[in-house]
């Protein structure tokens, strides 16, 4: 696969960043934000006279297939949240990487598991919680909407002040006509894999004896399995999973220059390219403190 990243930085800043971090993929320079603007994702909330901040995009990522068609987009309204490399790789390369084998169906009954797609849930970085239903041959599960008396396949995550949960991503459904009534419903074809993007805010982590942390994620899954003739009773089950987690970085834990480059020099150039203000003046203004 190929990876590119673009920003409104100058080429020499990107070259310094590349040296500092051994970057092996192209970093593209869009110093006038011409490409950002052409894509229609310029952050227009920032005032055009607000230098050097004006010119950044609403941050996001596009995933393309081999033909160059956009197959997925990841955009977040806040810079505090971003997709994980695992999510991007999954979107680009498909579902067959990383995950363990599907759970087995339990005889004639549906089996399910809940796994965390990643190694570590960092604050603000989104990973997928994956709920996988193994559906016995000849049976199917239902997608929304369903008529009264039937249960669609759902996953509900328990509210937690330290947890950020994005809408679940379901596989596509196919139409299915009931033999008895002739009614057409939407069903999932075979096994069902549901992805729920989650991240944490370091507000409800559980410390472990070894100094590490976990984020506990609880929820409820519901489903109803049917074959062409009969339906099983609806099922509901509670799950709880402890995900390895890393708390917010705090200033005291960070390097003096986290970008590993001469940040003041580059920032000075960025300011000077569009305004006569000094770097100190610009930095003072963003703190919101009174003069």
């Amino acid at each position: 696969m190929a990876l590119y990243a673009i920003s409104y930085d100058e080429v020499d800043a990107l070259a310094d960043f590349t040296r500092a971090h051994d970057v092996t993929f192209p970093l593209l320079s869009d110093p006038d934000s011409e490409i950002i603007e052409r894509f229609g994702i310029l952050n227009t909330i920032i005032d055009p006279d607000d230098h050097p901040w004006y010119g950044i995009p609403f941050p996001g990522a596009y995933v393309l297939d081999a033909d160059g068609t956009i197959v997925t987009k990841f955009f977040e309204s806040s810079l505090q949240f971003r997709p994980s490399a695992d999510q991007l790789l999954r979107a680009a390369l498909g579902d067959d990487i990383h995950l363990p084998p599907m759970p087995a169906a339990r005889g004639e009954s549906v089996g399910y598991d809940v796994i965390f797609d990643g190694d570590l849930l960092r604050a603000g970085v989104l990973h997928d919680l994956v709920v996988r239903f193994a559906v016995p041959e000849g049976q199917h599960l239902y997608g929304e909407p369903v008529p009264d008396g039937m249960v669609a396949t759902t996953v509900e995550i328990e509210p937690d002040l330290g947890l950020v949960v994005r809408p679940a991503i379901f596989p596509p459904t196919v139409p299915h006509t009931l033999a008895g009534t002739g009614e057409t419903l939407r069903i999932f074809d075979g096994d069902v894999v549901i992805r729920i993007p989650v991240t944490q805010l370091s507000r409800s982590l559980t410390p472990l004896d070894d100094g590490s942390f976990v984020q506990r994620i609880g929820g409820t899954v519901r489903w109803q399995a049917c074959d062409d003739d009969t339906c099983h009773l609806p099922r509901s089950d509670h799950f709880s999973i402890d995900v390895p987690a890393a708390p917010h970085h705090r200033p005291e834990a960070e390097l003096v220059d986290p970008n590993g480059m001469d940040m003041p020099a580059h920032l000075t150039k960025m300011v000077a390219r569009r305004t006569d203000k000094s770097l100190g003046q610009v930095l003072f203004e963003i703190t919101g403190h009174d003069a």
């Binding site: 696969m1 190929a2 990876l3 590119y4 990243a5 673009i6 920003s7 930085d9 080429v11 990107l14 070259a15 960043f17 590349t18 970093l27 593209l28 320079s29 894509f39 229609g40 994702i41 952050n43 607000d50 950044i56 609403f58 941050p59 996001g60 990522a61 596009y62 995933v63 393309l64 081999a66 033909d67 160059g68 068609t69 956009i70 197959v71 997925t72 987009k73 955009f75 309204s77 806040s78 810079l79 505090q80 790789l89 979107a91 680009a92 604050a123 603000g124 507000r203 917010h248 705090r250 200033p251 970008n259 940040m263 920032l267 960025m270 930095l283 203004e285 963003i286 703190t287 919101g288």
Partner: protein, 80 residues
């Protein structure tokens, strides 16, 4: 103005607990509320992009990626 709390470190904390020198609502910490534009739609061909890379050489993204699946990231800045 969005939630902003002065942290003991001297930095500003936002509603999610994130810290930064800029007060939420200023500089890059001006986030859209509700819907915001996300560019070309899923299903569309990714637009042509020709831009200078860190080696100083212009790069045509579609030509360079050839027929590989691709992740293309728009980010804030490598500097700050």
């Amino acid at each position: 103005m969005p939630f902003a709390k002065l942290h003991e470190s001297g930095q500003w904390e936002d509603e999610y607990g994130g810290l930064g020198p800029a007060k939420p609502g200023l500089a890059s910490r001006q986030d859209p509320v509700g819907e915001f534009p996300t560019g070309p739609a899923i299903g569309e061909r990714f637009p042509d992009v020709i831009a200078t890379a860190q080696d100083g050489v212009a790069l045509d993204v579609h030509r360079h990626r050839a027929d590989r699946a691709t992740v293309f990231v728009f980010y804030r800045s490598a500097v700050w």
